[in-house]
Amino acid sequence: MAESSILVIDDEQEFVSTLVRRLRKRGWESEGVLTGGEAIVKIAAGDFSVVLLDMRLPDMDGSEVLREIMKINPQTRVIILTGHASASEGEEGIRNGAFDYLIKPVEFETLLEKLQAAKKRSP
């Protein structure tokens, strides 16, 4: 797995597939999964520098997934990308090691900037 690859975790299939295609088109290695369980398996096996994480997943709570990711690799830059705006959830995410908190939808160009920033700060 390339060092700069991105994992998109979101239960909306259309969203994941479009975003992954778009990212690839712009030269970002990326993959998508629809559940927290798949995400943890992927992260344990691969090396993703940036993770885009939805907080509402069918099998697990987003914050739970975040904690698992941090256990597996605390260097992973996790950007929370959620459609349910909640200051307390965002604060908790940042406390638990998330790199940034974004509310959907994020304009693609803005998202690229955020990914750039996350990648830059990844060790």
């Binding site: 909306e12 969203f15 088109k25 959620t82 705006a85 909640s86 959907k104 939808p105 304009e107 160009e109």
Partner: protein, 856 residues
């Protein structure tokens, strides 16, 4: 002609009489209707007042406010009609028709659908001009005009029209669901706002494009490609109807998608359509008075200019439309860096006349570190070309222009957008640059510098916003302090008192919106985040580019009033149109032959009619049911008076003989009545006319002097004045000559039930003098804590939810005023007399209340 008094009396006698107990039951049920009607009347009047107030105050409101208030209003008026119907045993049935007619008209106004234009789903840029704004939106209509009429170079492409947008929305049945989600949205709850916004946008983006529309888009895209290279990248630009009107700069809040390849054109189109529901746009529309259905999204799909340098030009300085130079802001690469406030720019001032000489040049405008000195990105030839283009566009459109442009690798100039330059408000223009306060009189500032992006002075606590998370936590009234003035922060401009940004300049979109909202803003203020920290109370003087610690009152006194953002907007116009059916009062004279249900033209007329008739009906109770003489007891104070008392429940003491025709004051236990009576009798009436003090009632009746003056008052109350009482309740209705007064008081078990209502209207003198009397009474009542509303020659005064002891004092005042303001309208022409009366009344009232206090 038989007098009404006679009629009343004869009716009394010809009907079976109810026994006091039956009468009490019947009366109580009627009185319940009457009081409910009054409550509905008060509610209706309050709703109308709120709607009027909102139009004048410049407060933002949406269709939810209009719909909600109109619904509440019609419900209350419907209730009034129902209560009146019960009070009158089904008379006034004609009101139903008037009510239906008025409410139908009102519904038509409120539901007024936005104008839609049919037409092609796609139009090539070669076919577009300014006349097609209803099909392609203002941005693209103007760009088509620039291309096809002015003859300047613009990127090739096409517009996906408003008709296409409707087709997409209808094919997926989106509107109902969107409206459902927006209904009842709490604009103060940022989390809810962002969540609802995200949900609606996801709904739109996930909806499939209708096949025919997708094919049409791709076919037009193909045509642009064959003109150019094979792997064409396009920019998709929003072009909403109404978005670029002067001072309504929706621009920049909607999305622009750059570098879009063919496979994502459909997706990008849907994302721009969804951009109509971005949180800051929802807030902005609410603030500016636009309904969601007033805004139609059109999308320009334009060939991506491979820009070497881009920027914005103002055909005149944005803060001074009289300036004699063209202002150009430029930065390497795409124009978006200038507009979204993220990049440092160079600024060129160029003469407006040939040969368009460069007057001034600044580098690193809006950059935190002031920028590095380097060679300008534009040559003298290019600045001259841009200035000439700016002047040409201004001449063509007839107003100063704000133009986005790019120059490509081949050195060709492309115009990307041209729109009217938002004009600063008139008072801002006349305001000198400084504020005239001497520096010595001010504390030393914490920070100085930057550019004034929006003038004004404000105070608030610093709140740094660096992420979306901070957006959700932003407190109302705080000063927004940011590193970069991203357009996304615009959703905070209805909450922020001022904006400070470390970078950015006047062209930034956030600056445009701040100017529009009248929020002071300083951009390019170095070290703002580190110097100001977080949560500190500061005063921002954007006009002078200074920030002070704490509140600086001398500066804040200069703060400009917030502009009324609603005037002229679609929602504002709808409320104005709706008010035509709500507030005008055409039924003013109950004596007029036109005072009847089918003359009611507005909801106000209906309330007026119902109220008037309810009062009449209430007091004609006996006329219909047969009043047992024994129910109304003549009040005896020394001798029988012309005041009558009806006990509705427990207003007489238990030792009172119910068979008696008279009631002695000593048998009355109604607390509010006794207070009114005390006020009425505390001082002898000083005339005119001079009176003997034979008995109180005779004073009253002498005062009316000439009953012949009284043909218009169609009320039995012309003859008798009734106190309707229970232990804690009193309703006193007084009709004397031309004026009518009503006092009603309830001293309930709970504070919320307590109220005193007073109505006063009419008079025998000319209108001016009647008004002067009303004003005198209003002033006095205001002084004693009444909430007074005055309309023409009638006034209402109310106090609610106050302790009983407080209300009893007020009832004494009202008792006093009922007696002592009689006929003084006749002498109201004389300033000296007014002052004399005012003085006497005030003095008497103070004695009245002081005595009471001493007694207490």
């Amino acid at each position: 002609m038989t007098s009404l008094v006679d009629l009343f009396t004869s009716l009394f006698r010809s009907k079976p009489r109810l026994k006091p107990a039956e009468l009490q039951t019947a009366f109580r049920s009627h009185y319940k209707e009457f009081r409910s009607l009054l409550t509905a009347n008060n509610n209706a009047l309050e709703l109308m007042a709120e709607m009027e107030q909102v139009l004048g105050a410049g407060r933002s409101f949406g269709m939810a406010f209009i719909r909600g208030n109109c619904t509440a209003l019609t419900v209350n008026i419907y209730k009034m009609i129902r209560h009146l119907s019960k009070l009158s045993d089904g008379r006034y049935g004609a009101l139903d028709q008037s009510f239906r007619d008025i409410t139908r008209q009102l519904e038509l106004v409120i539901a007024s659908p936005p104008v839609t234009t049919e037409g092609a789903v796609i139009l090539s840029m070669a076919e577009v001009d300014a006349g097609m704004v209803d099909q392609v939106g203002e941005k693209m209509a103007n760009l088509g005009e620039v291309r096809n009429r002015v003859g300047l170079r613009t990127p090739d492409g096409f517009v996906i029209t408003a008709a296409a947008g409707r087709h997409f929305t209808q094919a997926n049945d989106l509107e109902v669901e969107i409206n459902r989600r927006l209904k009842g949205l709490d604009f103060d709850n940022m989390e809810e706002l962002y969540t609802v916004s995200a949900g609606i946008q996801a709904l739109i983006v996930n909806a499939p494009l209708p096949k025919d529309l997708e094919e049409a888009i791709l076919a037009h895209h193909q045509q642009v490609v064959t003109d150019k290279d094979s792997e064409l990248l396009v920019a998709l630009r929003s072009s909403a109807l109404g978005e670029d009107s002067s001072n309504v700069s929706f621009a920049g809040q909607y999305r622009t998608q750059l570098n879009v390849s063919r496979e994502f054109v459909g997706q990008a189109y849907k994302e721009i359509m969804a951009g109509k529901y971005k949180s800051q746009v929802i807030v902005y529309r609410q603030q500016r008075g636009y309904r969601h259905q007033d805004v139609h999204m059109c999308v320009g799909c334009l060939h991506m200019v491979d820009a070497v340098v881009s920027g914005v030009l103002y055909s005149r300085a944005p803060d001074d439309p009289r300036s004699r130079f063209v202002m150009i802001q430029a930065a390497p690469g795409l124009a978006s860096h200038v507009v979204d406030g993220s990049g440092a720019t160079e600024q060129f001032m160029v003469s407006r006349t040939p040969p368009y000489a460069l007057l001034d040049f600044q580098s690193g405008v809006g950059q935190a570190d002031g920028g590095v000195d380097s060679l300008p990105t534009l040559t003298a030839l290019q600045t001259a070309e841009l200035a000439e283009v700016g002047v040409r566009l201004e001449e063509h459109f007839g107003t100063p222009q704000d133009v986005e442009w790019s120059i490509d690798k081949a050195g060709l100039l492309y115009i990307l957008q041209s729109r009217p330059l938002g004009r600063p408000a008139a008072e801002e223009l006349s305001e000198p640059k400084g504020h005239g306060i001497r520096e010595d009189d001010l504390p030393s500032p914490l920070l100085v510098g930057g550019v004034c992006a929006s003038r004004g002075v404000a105070c608030g606590k610093v709140f740094n916003v660096r992420s979306s998370l901070d957006l959700l936590r932003f407190p109302k009234g705080a000063v927004l302090v940011v590193e970069t003035p991203y357009p996304d922060w615009a959703s905070l401009l209805d909450r922020a008192s001022a904006v400070i940004s470390e970078t950015g300049q006047m062209a930034a979109h956030l600056a445009t919106v701040a100017r529009e909202f009248g929020i002071p803003a300083i951009f390019g203020m170095n070290q703002a985040l580190t110097t100001l920290g977080n949560y500190r109370l500061i005063t921002v003087d954007a006009t002078a580019g200074k920030v002070y610690d704490g509140r600086v009152e001398s500066l804040l006194a200069l703060a400009l009033p917030k502009p009324n953002l609603m005037v002229g907007s679609p929602v504002y116009k709808i409320l104005v149109a709706a008010m035509e059916y709500i507030t005008p009062l055409t039924l003013t004279d109950p004596a007029s032959p036109f005072f009847k249900p089918d003359s009611c033209q507005t909801l106000h007329d209906l309330t007026r009619y119902c109220h008037e008739k309810a009062v009449v009906e209430m007091f004609k109770f006996g006329e219909r049911y047969g009043f047992d003489d024994k129910a109304a007891k003549q009040l005896v104070v020394d001798a029988p008076s012309q005041w009558w008392v009806i006990d509705l429940d427990d207003g007489f003491s238990s030792d009172f003989d119910p068979e008696s025709r008279y009631v002695d004051l000593g048998h009355i236990v109604s607390v509010p009545m006794l207070a009114i009576w005390q006020g009425m009798t505390a001082f002898p009436w000083a005339g005119p006319p001079p009176v003997s003090l034979r008995g109180f009632g005779s004073i009253i009746f002498q005062s009316t002097r000439n009953p012949g003056l009284d043909p218009g008052v169609r009320s039995t109350m012309a003859a008798k004045n009734y106190f309707l009482i229970s232990k804690n309740f009193c309703n006193l209705s007084v009709r004397l000559g031309y004026h009518f007064a009503l006092v009603e008081a309830n001293l309930g078990e709970y504070l919320t039930e307590n109220y005193v209502n007073f109505q006063f209207k009419g008079g025998a003198a000319d209108e001016n003098r009647r008004l002067l009397r009303i004003r005198l009474i209003s002033d006095i009542l205001n002084e004693f804590g009444f909430r007074v509303e005055q309309k023409a020659d009638s006034m209402t005064a109310r106090i609610e939810k106050k302790p009983g002891s407080f209300l009893l004092e007020r009832l004494k005042i009202l008792g006093y005023l009922i007696i002592h303001t009689r006929q003084i309208d006749m002498v109201m022409g004389d300033e000296g007399m007014i002052a004399q009366y005012r003085q006497k009344i005030t003095a008497d009232l103070h004695i009245l209340l002081d005595n009471a206090e001493m007694e207490g």
